[in-house]
């Protein structure tokens, strides 16, 4: 080895060991968003925007040259990601420029298809919607959007339907994605969304992933946790999963459980906390109370008989709760879950040890669950019993999948029961408040929720609902038990308008396709998982006649005679006007979002923002301005319960469909790192498509050997609802245990959802995409 090489290795080694996540912020070039070399390129301008993809909400610097996005860089000034992105984020420029980008409207009528100017297409859509309402009444049309709607898009759609058409037929794909998180928060805390924030990731001692492959689905946040582990090796990562993933590989402990048995595990941990004397009695006596609710609530199946009202509940005492969980011994939970009792005890000890700060994390594993609301409640129980909540490094953290599932769907309220900022349509005071801001008679607002997403599509498929505007989502790939819906829609031919950016299976079934402006082709705001609202400006022109979704909605509304609701002219005025009017709803109810001009300057601000100051830990005195002095903690969403959070008695129950002799395998579906949801954007980026070109089925090595299948072999999956032939993936990045398989849903030509069951949580109405029974046939 030469002296030079030794010297080199020494320098490199020093650089390697000294580095950490936080230390990298701004490194290379003092706090410049991107380093000077490219800032100096006179042809390229750089501006901030949040990433288009997931609920993490990373900041990106967007490089624009000659009116086109030519590059992005991680935004080193954004505290979410400190300059790091994931592979999807780095490939953002590619999603704008796929060759088949939709640029002109298409109208399909009487078997013909014609391209049309936007003005004419909007006239046509408004006429048809008006006709339908005249003929079938105001409940006959609906709007269906997503957690990728900007705040402005969602607010426009909600206001149009509720204050204009006069119904509550507003839903979003977030119903499929985080409705159980919402009902979990509401039932436990009385207010939606996390109390903690990403700052917890640099302060926790134990990170518990509940059915959550964070390494692939929230990679930048996972890197923050890995950096925490690197700087403090005593930090422990615990993965509770139904299959091995990249998250498992990085974790210190892995608890592999039988699908649905997380309910039993959580109850067993609660039991251990109580029986071992680890309850934080001071916290529980001051800030919690106990409740039980009806338990024979069914699974929301189409042919299911009447069940109990899942919301009917009563308060109980600690003793009754203690007796209830006492049967969930670690041994009993082990019998149900397959997790060794010793592992359950060890995990309970981590939750119970007052010296260990614990962060629980979850996303679709707990939310896409026929007992989704319950399992959310049960994990909150653990943090409430131990008082490990609303403090730096201590707390439950419900991760969100989409960039504005929180900001738009949950905060603006684009679900049938919701009015902006946590209000409800069935509350007369809330309706009166909305009617005042919207300047419409209160009687014009429909007083009851109408259809959740599953009901909306069941009604489209059975002819009860006559028309729908679908924006920025792809239900003809994402609905469970897809064939049933497709057949119904083909038979009853409802009037379907889709605004989107590329052709998808959903634009295929549309009568009118409207081209949409995406991401930095328009101005907008997203709200991420940690309550951070982020704003960006329009940086480039959209292609052809494409318009922002909010503009499309407003233009249809104006043509239907609801123009008074939208007095703003021009894109900038509309983006600001919609936001500022929405902001009025948020002030004083604990969701106070920031001023628009402040958002324009900041890298996002976390609500409640009071006097310009953001809130990091809600419900905690000193951090949350809504908590009165001396209260220490106040769960003020439950003001009528004395500002107390609810510890829920919820049993373990079996899922509606489990493997049997005929269908012996569990099927779970899910996402992959490289693709965003149904792949309509990411598959158009060569580097991402080539990394994950098609769907596959992950099979355990032993099962593969038994069946004589090798990696890459064809295998047919058959469920009670459909069948699908896929390549086997054996020994891939994820590996299910024997008797279980996994299929990603991004591939529109290999639709995982022809297999899945449309059972859902009776409280949240969110389907369970993680559990159904299939058999495997060698092809």
């Amino acid at each position: 080895m030469t002296a030079n090489r030794r010297e080199f290795l020494k320098r490199m080694a020093a650089a390697w060991t000294g580095a950490s996540f936080a230390a990298l912020a701004g490194c290379g070039d003092d706090q410049q968003p991107v380093s000077q070399a490219i800032l100096d390129d006179p042809g390229v301008t750089w501006s901030k925007a949040p990433c288009r993809f997931c609920g993490t909400g990373c900041g990106v610097m967007v490089g624009v040259r000659d009116g086109k996005v030519v590059a992005v860089a991680g935004d080193q000034q954004n505290p979410v990601n400190l300059g790091l992105l994931c592979v999807k984020g780095y490939h953002l420029p590619g999603i704008l420029y796929g060759e088949d980008r939709l640029a002109m409207p298409v109208i399909r009528e009487n078997g013909d298809e014609r391209e049309s100017p936007m003005e004419e297409a909007l006239d046509y859509v408004a006429d048809r919607f008006k006709q339908i309402v005249d003929e079938h009444g105001k409940e006959s049309i609906a709007v269906y959007g997503s957690g990728q709607w900007t705040i402005q898009d969602g607010y426009a759609a909600s206001k149009w339907m509720r204050a204009g058409v006069g119904n509550n037929n507003v839903e979003a794909n977030a119903r499929l994605c985080m409705a159980s998180a919402v009902t979990g928060f509401l039932t436990t805390f009385g207010k939606d969304e996390p109390m903690g924030c990403y700052d917890d990731f640099e302060q926790g001692d134990v990170f518990v992933f509940w059915g959550n492959n964070m390494a692939e689905m929230h990679p930048v946040l996972f890197s923050r946790i890995l950096a925490r582990k690197k700087s403090v090796p005593a930090v422990q990562l615990v993965d509770i999963g139904t299959r091995r993933t990249r998250t498992t590989e990085a974790s210190d402990h892995y608890l592999e459980f039988e699908p649905n048995s997380d309910l039993a595990i959580a109850n067993a941990i609660a039991r251990e906390i109580i029986e071992q004397g680890w309850v934080n009695e001071d916290f529980v006596s001051k800030h919690c109370l106990f409740k039980k609710a009806s338990e024979d609530i069914g699974y929301g199946l189409r042919d299911e008989g009447a069940k109990q009202n899942p919301m009917a509940n009563e308060q109980i005492g600690f003793e009754e709760y203690r007796r209830f969980v006492s049967k969930y011994t670690p041994e009993y939970a082990s019998e149900i879950s397959g997790v060794p009792a010793s592992q359950i005890r060890d995990l309970a000890k981590l939750y119970g040890d007052p010296r260990q700060k614990v962060v629980s994390l979850w996303c679709m594993g707990m939310n896409q669950h026929t007992r989704g609301t319950w399992i959310n409640n049960l994990v909150y129980n653990l943090h409430l019993l131990t008082g490990k909540i609303s403090q730096p490094g201590n707390g439950p953290f419900s991760l969100t999948g989409q960039p504005s599932a929180c900001g738009t769907v949950r905060e603006v309220g684009t679900l049938t029961q919701a009015l902006p900022a946590g209000r409800r349509v069935d509350n007369p005071e809330h309706r009166a408040y909305a009617a005042k801001i919207w300047d419409v008679p209160v009687e014009s607002l429909a007083p009851k929720p109408s259809m959740h997403t599953m009901a909306m599509f069941r009604n489209l498929a059975t002819g009860k609902l006559k028309g729908v505007l679908i924006q920025v989502t792809n239900p003809m790939v994402t609905l469970p038990d897809l064939n049933w819906f497709k057949e119904g829609i083909a038979k009853h031919k409802p009037f379907i308008v889709v605004s989107d950016v590329y052709p998808t299976p959903t634009t295929e079934v549309a009568d009118v396709v409207l081209p949409a402006a995406m991401w930095v082709e328009r101005e907008g705001c997203f709200g991420n998982s940690e309550r951070r609202t982020q704003q960006w400006n329009q940086l480039v022109d959209p292609p052809g006649e494409a318009l922002p979704d909010s503009t499309i909605t407003v233009e249809i509304a104006r043509r239907m005679g609801h123009g008074k609701l939208f007095p703003w002219e021009g894109e900038e005025a509309l983006a600001r006007g919609l936001y500022e009017e929405y902001r009025e709803f948020t002030i004083g109810v604990g969701k106070d979002v920031a001023l628009y001009d402040d958002l324009k300057r900041a890298r996002g601000l976390r609500w409640p923002v009071v006097d310009g100051v953001e809130t990091r830990w809600r419900y905690a005195e000193g951090s949350d301005p809504y908590v009165p002095a001396g209260a220490e903690f106040a769960f003020y969403g439950n003001h009528s319960l004395g500002d107390r959070a609810v510890i829920w008695q919820r049993p373990y129950q079996e899922p509606p469909e489990s493997p049997d002799d005929e269908y012996p395998f569990w099927l779970a579906t899910g996402r992959v790192l490289e693709h965003w949801h149904t792949g309509s954007m990411t598959r158009r980026v060569p580097q991402l498509h080539q990394a994950q070109p098609k769907a596959y089925v992950e099979i355990n090595q032993e099962d593969a050997r038994t069946m004589g299948l090798s990696d890459g072999a064809s295998v047919k999956l058959v469920s009670r609802r459909g069948e699908l032939t896929l390549d086997a993936r054996v020994g891939g990045r994820g590996e299910p245990p024997t008797g279980r398989v996994f299929v990603p849903f991004f591939d529109e030509s290999l639709l995982a959802n022809v297999l899945t069951l449309d059972a859902h949580c009776p409280i949240s109405k969110q389907p369970d995409y993680k559990k159904c029974a299939v058999r495997l046939e060698k092809v």
Binding site: T2, N4, R5, E7, F8, L9, M12, A13, A15, A19, L24, C27, G28, D29, S35, Q36, A37, I38, L39, D40, D41, G63, D66, K68, V70, A71, V72, A73, G74, G83, L85, C86, V87, Y90, P93, G94, L96, G98, E99, D100, A215, F222, S223, L226, A227, R246, E249, L673, E674, R683, R684, V685, P686, Q687, L688, Q690, A691, Q692, P693, R733
Partner: protein, 172 residues
């Protein structure tokens, strides 16, 4: 000691997810900066994007990027890969992905940003400016100093402690 990089065109001739006869190129054969930069572009969406992994990855050896991409991890010339220039990030495959196919889902009209091939000099012996962004490129050594650096990018002088004392950003 050789820098083990891959000619992507050769790599991509390998069948999808299949063979392992990946062609490593000899940096001696690509002494021209232009050739080297062309090869580099094949692995990126634009300059500043993370390169795709230009070789097959054994899924079983998942956490083993470091066994070839850590300085000094191995002296086996066939296994020495370029060390990462951003040591703080540990989850390599969050950004760098393997390529399992060659086809495209659709064509792309992305007009990507590519940095200039070289920096500028005020006069012939002046230190050149840095023609690229420094974000995620904190270790100049990886590409420019020492035996592992590709010949075409290697500095004409040995390691000095503060590269940016003489080489500054700026492309004009």
């Amino acid at each position: 000691m050789r820098a083990a990089c891959v000619v992507p065109a050769l790599l991509l001739a390998v069948s999808c997810g299949g063979g392992s006869d990946l062609a490593l190129y000899d940096p001696g054969a690509l002494t021209s900066r232009a050739q080297l930069l062309d090869a580099r572009r094949e692995t990126r969406a634009y300059d500043g994007a993370p390169p795709v992994i230009p070789h097959e990855v054994d899924a079983r050896g998942r956490q083993n990027c470091n066994s070839c991409h850590t300085p000094g991890a191995t002296d086996n010339p066939a296994r020495v890969g370029p060390p990462r220039s951003h040591p703080a990030w540990g989850d390599c495959r969050q950004c760098h992905v393997e390529q399992l196919a060659r086809d495209r889902f659709t064509g792309s009209n992305l007009d990507a940003l590519w940095w200039p091939a070289s920096g500028s000099r005020l006069y012939s012996s002046a230190p050149p400016t840095i023609p690229h962004a420094l974000q995620n490129r904190q270790l100049c050594e990886v590409c420019h100093i020492g035996e592992q650096a590709p010949l075409a990018l290697r500095a004409s002088h040995g390691p000095r402690d503060n590269c940016t004392q003489c080489h500054v950003g700026g492309t004009r």
